[in-house]
Symmetry: C2
Subunit: 276 residues, 2 copies
């Protein structure tokens, strides 16, 4: 994507959160995965931090150096022509202005910024501190002339933080706070209950992002519930590499390789064409 | 792998070409794929140039800068403890001593070196010229104190070079020549016919590597035919990303995501454990 048009791409991405259809993000972790998602017709591509980190050799949770994460984002954004939104975890400890500058340099026009903090143990940031980070990112992006699409993540359910009966209220409180701080959408991962999802949609005055994982309502049902954005996260990566694991186990145990004979397997030429 | 032990690792890899069992290489293209193959119990990991290139955004055929290919090899070799053999295409135009030095720096103790040449069109190198390259690589490796395991590829069948009735003889001629030049094994991709495979095994006085792809005899049959080394090549990558493509298409068309609900899907925690 031409960096000269980042503002326009950001506007396009933002518009996808307010269209008639739910925005579905089939998260990519490298260039060929991003090209396949683009080729399938999706109007934007999101990265998965877990997937990018795994492909480059790091566990999830900000263990990957930010330079390597941004280099992966840049490889993807240079290879596709739809907007890219990058999972930037909790910001890698960078000041907001540096984070925004480097993210835009990498060609992304949207970002996830989560309120998990990755120390010895995962923990939830103070809501107000995370709201402040969101506000600083917003200010830095506006100063750069791009309405970066900020998807602020409230990880109350993901981290199972606090007593179960208080999580919905806390997620709503955080979502509202992040919205007021300048987030364009609020991401609450690890919610599957339709009542909880409906409550989040109704109580947070922002497009709601829900993670699609095993046990989630299907995407068409999420759309009916009012969810604006559904993302697959690292599940895409894990689904793909599960096939490699199964293939390796089959070769080890049976000395056959069924997945290679999949009649629908992408051809070598097709891969090359996607990358020309 | 500790670089201090490259010579020992190379010896281990070479031994796997002369054991009772066929050496099977489930080719990896990034760190998590390599870790999964290692975890499945395979005694060595080979890279696929096509897969590495695709993940980083390049079509196959030496379009990827050698620095990026070697960086991927290094990420893999640093993450696993079994020997790594790297697909180095036709050597990226590097002088043999530089190629060997950089490959060993990247932690690989084996390499594929193919007699395809990647210009405007793919073409077959003169056999003698490729034999000379193999000899130079062998000399450079010995000078470095490591018996790098050279898997010399004869691409007569892959490129469908010359009249069909002459290909077997030409592949045998090349295989013998590369063996005499110092190759440890000879790789003839794109042969599926059992008679052809048997003839190659019998005529080339070196362990034979066959590519497992759709239509190949199963690996247990290749072992019966006397094949010493069976590799999956870029088929592993394509099998995995076919699942991503299918998932993306299903989400687009049905708004469901079956692969995410695969009961055998690798968990987020399992991925992280593989990378700790």
């Amino acid at each position: 994507m031409a960096s000269s048009n980042l503002a326009g791409e950001a506007e396009t991405l933002l518009g996808l959160h307010h269209g008639d259809d739910i925005l579905v993000l089939v998260n990519a972790w490298d260039v060929i995965s991003a090209r396949l998602v683009e080729e399938a017709g999706f109007p934007a591509v999101a990265t998965t931090s877990a997937g990018v980190a795994a492909s480059l050799g790091y566990p999830d949770g900000e263990r990957i150096p930010v330079e390597e994460m941004l280099a992966a984002v840049k490889r993807i954004s240079e290879a596709i022509s739809v907007p890219v939104t990058a999972d930037m975890e909790s910001g890698y400890g960078l000041p907001a202005d540096q984070l925004v500058e480097r993210l835009l340099d990498a060609g992304a026009v949207g970002m996830n910024i989560e309120d998990s903090r990755h120390g010895e143990q995962e923990s939830l940031a103070e809501a107000e501190a995370h709201g402040q980070l969101v506000a600083e990112i917003r200010a830095a992006a506006e100063a750069a002339g791009v309405h970066l699409v900020i998807n602020a993540r409230a990880d109350v359910f993901l981290l199972a933080d606090g007593p179960p009966e208080g999580r919905l209220d806390e997620a709503i409180r955080r979502g509202r706070l992040y919205r007021q701080a300048g987030a364009d959408s609020v991401f609450v991962p690890a919610v599957e209950d339709e009542g909880v999802i409906t409550a989040l949609v109704q109580a947070i005055d922002a497009p709601l992002n829900v993670l699609v994982r095993a046990g989630s309502p299907p995407i068409h049902r999420l759309a009916e519930l009012g969810v604006a954005r559904a993302s697959l996260g690292g599940g895409t990566t894990r689904a793909a590499y599960t096939v490699l694991k199964r293939l390796a186990n089959e070769i080890r145990d049976e000395a056959t390789a069924s997945a290679i004979n999949d009649p629908e397997i992408i051809s070598h030429d097709a891969v090359n064409r996607l990358l020309e």
